[in-house]
């Protein structure tokens, strides 16, 4: 069992050597390319699905109350399902099969949404989509770890972040255009059709190269009581719990920032508002695609903490700049900071989870714990920012979000241990 002893930021985790004898796995090129494109198309699918539900249901003469209810139920399932989703991936012997089921489920719910926008089916579709997403996130990381092992995981996660961001950026632009020029119904058909390239890419990954033990971060015993014990031991894992708290604070400060800036942009400019908001969404994705590989390399050379400090520091700076500037074009420039943060967190959060859960066999359950923290932070962020904005105005809301982000930065600096394994020094 890995342990983190004592206090202070300089702590190092001393991991047990990987239980598997296959120390340096050599996955084939085909498998690695397959994973690249699986990550890319999965990001496309998720981008197509999320933001269009509300617009589409509005065009189907749904009331705002019904739409809000469906979205809330979907959000709750996505939150509650994080840890069970991770546990399912840990228990699975074939991560590939789990991922394929998730993709099919999302595609099915997109088709049903496009063809039968009636309440019961839409609600079931949202629940199915949320549940599938809870499994797909961990499954993707598990396949990565199962293929390359701990030695190559930082580089691999960086590659995942690059392809996911490229997928999200391209899909946001393409689906946004599709929804604008045709109708949001076609977006769901396009999303459903993306199942084909996603599955083709997934099946390029050779199943025998995904070592299930590696994919789970070690061996663990199966059974409900063992699961409970494993869960409790993760909750006593200092690095993991601190990371989850930092990430919660980060998303509490981050999630509402762009929506708040988006509605401010809508009030300031008329013709260009939509284009500027689109740029604010796409620009950070391009930044991630550009710098993620650098982040992955530096995570091995510098360790995890310096990069996390950079990523967490960018959020309060962005909040301060948003509070101060009014020029809509500068807003897009400030979004470059969002890209830096997203690149760091996109690579480093799963990496630190993999470090912390090494040898426990519960890598994916650990991802579920951190995923729950992300969900809670993001959900509360909108409420908090809405309250601050209503009573104190937008600049105060940005400052409040920046202050929360700063608290997250302090926590990383003061408490988060360095989790880079010693032998990498």
């Amino acid at each position: 069992m890995h342990r983190v002893d004592g206090g202070g930021a300089k702590d190092q985790i001393t991991p047990k050597p990987p239980p598997s004898s296959r120390q340096s796995p050599t996955p084939s090129r085909t498998s690695l390319r397959g994973l690249d494109w699986f990550v890319f198309f999965l990001a496309d699918v998720q981008t197509g699905f999320g933001p269009f539900v509300s617009v589409y249901l509005t065009t189907q003469a749904w009331t705002q109350v019904d739409i809000g209810l469906v979205l809330t139920v979907g959000g709750l399932v996505a939150l509650i399902g994080q840890m069970p989703g991770g546990a399912v991936v840990d228990a699975a012997r074939s991560e590939r099969l789990v991922a394929a089921c998730g993709v099919v489920a999302i595609s099915a719910s997109a088709i049903s949404l496009a063809i039968w926008p009636v309440f019961l089916l839409v609600l079931l579709g949202r629940i199915l989509h949320a549940a599938a997403s809870c499994v797909l996130g961990p499954a993707m990381a598990a396949i990565s770890l199962g293929l390359v092992g701990h030695a190559g995981i930082s580089e691999r996660l960086a590659r995942n972040a690059r392809f996911a961001s490229a997928g999200t950026g391209i899909a946001a632009a393409a689906m946004g255009a599709l929804g604008h020029w045709t109708s949001s119904q076609y977006v769901f058909f396009a999303t459903a059709a993306l199942i084909a390239p996603t599955l083709i890419a997934l099946f390029q990954i050779h199943p025998s190269e995904i070592d299930p033990e590696r994919a789970h971060g070690g061996k663990h015993e199966i059974g409900p009581r063992k699961l409970g014990k494993g869960f409790l031991s993760l909750l006593r894992n200092r690095a993991l719990v601190i990371l989850a708290t930092c990430v919660l604070l980060f998303h509490l400060g981050n999630a509402a920032m762009l929506p708040l800036m988006g509605s401010q942009l809508t009030t300031r400019t008329s013709e260009w508002a939509t284009v500027l908001i689109a740029a604010c969404i796409v620009v950070p994705q391009l930044v991630v695609a550009a710098v993620a590989p650098w982040v992955g390399r530096r995570a091995e050379q510098w360790g995890r903490r310096p990069l996390l400090l950079i990523g967490f520091a960018a959020l309060p700076i962005r909040g301060l700049l948003f509070a101060a500037i009014g020029n809509p074009y500068l807003v897009v420039a400030v979004q470059l900071l969002d890209g830096i943060t997203a690149a760091v967190l996109g690579v480093l959060v799963p990496l630190v989870i993999a470090d912390a859960a090494r040898g426990t066999g519960r890598f994916n359950l650990a991802q579920g714990i951190v995923g729950s923290a992300v969900g809670i932070g993001a959900a509360l962020s909108t409420t908090l920012a809405g309250y601050l904005s209503d009573y104190f105005g937008n600049p105060a809301a940005f400052l409040g979000l920046a202050a929360i982000g700063f608290a997250g930065l302090l926590l990383v600096w003061a408490l988060l241990p360095e989790t880079r394994p010693r032998e990498a020094d």
Binding site: L258, T266, T269
Partner: protein, 160 residues
């Protein structure tokens, strides 16, 4: 989990029953002949016969979810709600305006008299006497707060 399913199923049953008529509001009233049953109050209706009004389907339309354009053809968003006063007269429409991928859109309120319906050729097209510049600075509509109505021409009347 199980409790959630029960609640979800119960909500689904009740709300879909409520929303189903609205979904099909457009396709009702197929009859070509309009037979007016008068404006009498409900008490006058006999127990054996409920008064009916049949409207030609070209003559009416649902407004929920319909696209609104300015007179210059700019996209002004979609109608998501209709506000009535205590007398039940329609006063204003709530329009979901602007944004991209669900970021930056705002709900603004437009006076009912500023909206124009059904230009003869385009049944689904609703136009408004405002442009994007005029609508962009409108405060966001929030239930329970004073409502700022755009395009009210000083009239307190219900409009059309």
């Amino acid at each position: 989990m199980r409790i959630h399913w029960v609640i979800a199923a119960a909500l689904a049953a009740s709300v879909s029953a409520l929303s189903a008529p609205a979904l099909f509001a457009d396709s009702t009233g197929e009859a070509q002949q309009a037979r007016s049953a008068g404006q009498s109050d409900p008490g006058e209706a006999g127990a054996d016969e409920t008064l009916k009004t049949v409207l030609p389907h070209q003559g009416v339309q649902g407004v929920l979810g319909k696209e609104v354009r300015s007179s210059a053809g700019e996209d002004m968003g979609r109608i998501v709600d209709v506000l009535v006063d205590q007398a039940g007269l329609v006063r204003a429409a709530v329009i979901d305006f602007g944004g991209f991928l669900g970021v930056g859109n705002r709900k603004v309120v437009v006076d009912w008299t500023a909206l124009h319906f059904a230009p003869a050729d385009q049944r689904d097209r609703i136009s408004v006497d405002l442009n994007r510049n005029q609508i962009k600075e409108a405060p966001e509509y929030k239930p329970g707060k004073p409502v700022v109505v755009l395009g009210a021409l000083g009239s307190t009347g219900p409009g059309l």
